[in-house]
Homo-oligomer: 164 residues x 2
Amino acid sequence: MQKTTTANPTARQTDLTEIFDTIEYSDAYRITYLANSIVFPTYAAIKRDFGLVRAEYILLACLSHYDELTARDVAQISMRPRNTISRAVHRMVAEQLIERRHNRVDKREASLTITKKGQRLHKRIAAYLTQRQEDVFAGLNVQERQELSKLLRKTALHTAALNQ
Amino acid sequence: MQKTTTANPTARQTDLTEIFDTIEYSDAYRITYLANSIVFPTYAAIKRDFGLVRAEYILLACLSHYDELTARDVAQISMRPRNTISRAVHRMVAEQLIERRHNRVDKREASLTITKKGQRLHKRIAAYLTQRQEDVFAGLNVQERQELSKLLRKTALHTAALNQ
DNA sequence: TCAATATTGTTCCAAATGGAACAATAAATT
DNA sequence: AATTTATTGTTCCATTTGGAACAATATTGA
């Protein structure tokens, strides 16, 4: 709970980073803040430059790292509702960024794969995210960065099990 | 790039966590995954139980930790567009969760404060987020958790400066 | 075997969202 | 002082979003 002032409006009186320490769920807050800092500007740039909405580049990213996935898999990996993935699939099949092939065994599902064109696009998009990632983590030295990586990995694996 | 199969549809063949390691921007990815894991289920619960949308509880959280802020401050802290904050302000003033007082010096802006009622609501919401935070970080031991906290804090502060 | 239940992916619809243009005010520049 | 530029907060509008109901298929269990 910090003093702010409107008495002297010329100077920025309030330290807008205090909440990092004072909020009850400070780790969750910091994580979310960092995620937003990475994702929001990059998302806007991807939309502007490539015309993809979030569910679409998520789909592209997932398919870039697995030989094939079902829409259900993608929804689970990304924690997005199935209908947004479904929409993304249709638009991206139309754009020939991915391919869909009905499963002969289980006729409900279809397996999705990325095309060459899709892979090329993913590479360009990944460069945006990688760049922003480096900017965000530039405040850490090499050991710190490694340690953070390790801890995030462990936490993410634990959480994935939790989300199951 | 991992083998999956649709040949034997009964067993889950694909390890959906592999992407944590194989993706180009793995730190950014892990951070985002964790943020989503914390925020999505909690957000849904907050909406269900209290009827608040995201911009609204963000506003509440910000005002819980500063004596007063302008809408602009909140937009900056939360990295949300100004119009979503504006909407949230109006609804929450109507609900008497926050108060708005026009600034005499700079007539464009208004200073926002949280009410007692707003504070009580924030406490209840914070409990949801805190609980989820604990679940997500339960995979770490005490030292690891402390170390992660420290690294996240440093990175968040660096990023806040970057976002300025 | 047949009914009941679960799962996958889709469509529909109402709500949330964010960019852009705007009015009001303030600050900077001439 | 007058003009130009910047800032704050708002409204408008088109798009994105996600819950819920649904059809098709698969699985479970009586």
